[in-house]
Symmetry: C2
Subunit: 248 residues, 2 copies
């Protein structure tokens, strides 16, 4: 048995989420079926994060165990051939120790959220960004975002379905910048609560629109109450960028 | 009657091309139907360029004549509402003089071509770039591209279906640069022949792969013969960026 760490890029639009679901297609199902088609082996895929329906990934890290011998190159080529026509690609592959775990060994995760700040409906970016028609003040959003950085009880920014034992998380970075009509929000932490990035982005958008000020955002955080959440942003704009491990 | 210049953004994937076609959907048909839905008027759309099936636009300029009164804002909002769910959006709208013509008044056109230079299949970029698996030397492509800049007989780089009276065109700019895994090619001219950008990109890719050198490219140009073309690139990576007018 050899353990391989795969870096996956995928378009989340056709999936109910990364994790295998009883009621619809998932990234995990497609990957496990590709492994079976390639090797005849039944394996379980483990991922650094659990992304929701419609959420994309540029560099999701997962691991799989395989008996049949492969080099990282032949495995990624074989997987990519079997993954077609799914919009999932293996963009990196390496052999890792048997005790390395994509989820439990991971010490950092980063996301990017893309807002298309324009009146016109999206065409080429459809499903790949959140369209906000009214002008956003990205500088005000960045200033307000700094309120959320650090160790906090993020109950307000946590889905009712969140399975994390504690709502206490340390947010390492939350940067907002404008690039033309796009407003980009980058978030980094050891780990995130369910819906945390989308919930933070939703409230930052309210700040960017001038409907919330920094005091209102601070109050929402301090409330530790999901009812205090102003807005949850849609999944379309969210991308899992990178998982970080001690050896990186 | 008022003449409006619209700036269109569209995803070319679902269309047989920009121009109305008997055998399938076109951007022109969708736009003319949106005008009819909005105004009850039958109008003909005229465009700065005629893009092929699968070719995208970031800023295609077109004009339409409408009797019913609109401000540019109400026209673009009304058009965008009626264009749904088509991946076509009005991203700019202005009133122009009655003798202004999107095609005949245009004095410059620019395109960008996007090559995803990577082994892994495309996921988020599927249909939006040309995937070239082997490494491309973008610097060598840029140097070779300068052979094509200037006034030339571009017969080699012209489709058999090209309706232009002359194969003589002045290419003002052809720049190649790498941004991460993407190789971007920007082309500017007063006008282009049918398939000219895709044909030039195809041959530059051969240079980038080391299969052609600059001498081979110069010979292909001098041959003035479609048979001398090395490779025509697919439409997926091509974007009409901008049309330029004397008043700009």
């Amino acid at each position: 048995m050899t353990r391989y760490a795969l870096t996956l890029e995928f378009d989340g639009a056709p999936y109910m989420g990364l994790q295998r679901q009883a009621h619809g297609p998932s990234v995990q199902q497609s990957v496990e079926e590709a492994v079976f088609a390639l090797t005849g082996e039944t394996t379980g895929m483990h991922a650094a994060g659990r992304t929701d329906a419609g959420v994309h990934a540029l560099g999701m890290k997962v691991h799989i165990d395989i008996q049949k011998p492969f080099t990282p190159f032949t495995l990624s080529e074989g997987m990519n051939a079997r993954l077609r026509p799914h919009p999932i690609a293996v963009v990196g592959c390496e052999v890792v120790p048997d005790d390395w775990h994509a989820r439990f060994s991971c010490i950092g995760r980063s996301y990017i959220y893309r807002i298309a700040n324009r009146r016109a409906p999206l065409t080429l970016e459809r499903g790949k960004a959140w369209q906000v028609p009214k002008p956003l003040d990205a500088a005000a959003m960045h200033r307000a975002a700094q309120i959320l950085v650090g160790l906090h009880d993020f109950t307000t920014f946590r889905s009712a379905h969140c399975q994390s034992q504690s709502p206490l998380k340390t947010l390492d970075r939350l940067d907002v910048r404008r690039e033309g009509e796009m407003v980009l929000i980058e978030a980094e932490a050891r780990s995130f609560l369910h819906h945390q990035v989308r919930s933070m982005v939703g409230c930052l958008a309210l700040v960017g629109l001038g409907r919330w000020d920094e005091r209102k955002l601070a109050e929402a955080l301090e409330a530790r109450d999901r009812q205090a959440l102003g807005l949850n942003s849609p999944p379309d704009g969210l991308y899992f960028v990178k998982a970080i491990y001690p050896e990186d």
